[in-house]
């Protein structure tokens, strides 16, 4: 599968792995691949840029999701397993000040690292789907456009949340790509 990757697609995956490491994420997921695709020089990244999905915008949306506070569903789910969120929030506010648990930077499993993060399950699934897209398009090499479609075909919940906020979906991106190549 990987031997069929075009150079820009390879670069996109390398950029994605570096981005995951920079964020302190243990694995390279589909959402990192989307960031990687937005970073390499290609028609597809220009299309993403035109659609508002630049690297900085994707990261901004992802940071917003990761730094989210606790909503009513979280509080209810915690109560179901015997955790009193209100009591913890009150105690935290006594020590750290008002709104201590509202939102803020999430601590990572590990800090940023220089070593690239390897592809995780959702990343691998996106690359496998990219190969299917390549075969369906009768193309020889997996291009960045196939990678993007691979990501958008059946994204992980975290990636789906990002793509919904960016208004990117499989069908519309596919149509945009067809428009550009046609």
């Amino acid at each position: 599968m990987f031997e069929r990757l075009s150079k820009p697609a390879k670069n996109a995956i390398t950029a994605a792995c570096a981005e995951a490491a920079r964020r302190g994420d243990r694995l390279t997921d589909d959402v990192h691949l989307l960031i990687g695709c937005s970073m390499v020089r290609s028609d597809t990244s220009s299309m993403l840029k035109d659609a508002g999905a630049t690297r900085s915008r994707i990261i901004e949306v992802l940071d917003g999701l990761d730094n989210e506070g606790f909503n009513e569903d979280d509080v209810r789910a915690l109560a179901m397993v015997g955790v009193n969120f209100e009591a913890i929030a009150r105690a935290a506010e006594d020590v750290f000040g008002k709104g201590a648990l509202d939102a803020g930077p999430r601590s990572r499993l590990r800090g940023p690292t220089k070593r690239a993060a390897r592809l995780g399950p959702s990343g691998k699934q996106a690359v496998a789907q990219a190969l299917s897209e390549t075969i369906n398009a009768d193309a020889r090499r997996i291009g960045v456009e196939h990678l993007v479609l691979g990501v958008l075909h059946d994204p992980s919940p975290r990636c789906r949340a990002v793509t919904v906020m960016l208004d990117l979906d499989y069908d519309s991106v596919r149509a945009r790509l067809a428009e550009r190549s046609g």
């Binding site: 569903d73 789910a77 935290a92 601590s107």
Partner: protein, 70 residues
């Protein structure tokens, strides 16, 4: 009441249980950031912070030193 909660948790919809797990993880993460930040402002060494967390000094430094620099 505690038994009722336990029974609810045991029979809970997996979606609720999983959401609780994710929320607990985020809660723990958030509290860790707040406590580490406070401990550092009080002059605690990375080793002093690492001990109660049950991790190495290097691990806690790697995870939180970046935030200190911000």
């Amino acid at each position: 009441v505690a038994n009722d909660v336990a029974a609810d948790a045991a029979s809970a919809d997996p979606a609720v249980g999983l959401q609780a797990v994710a929320a607990m993880r985020r809660l723990a993460d958030r509290l860790e950031v707040l406590h580490v930040r406070r401990a550092r402002s009080m002059g605690w060494s990375w080793q002093q912070i690492a001990d109660p967390l049950g991790v190495t000094r290097q691990a806690v430094h790697k995870k939180h030193a970046g935030e200190e620099a911000r």
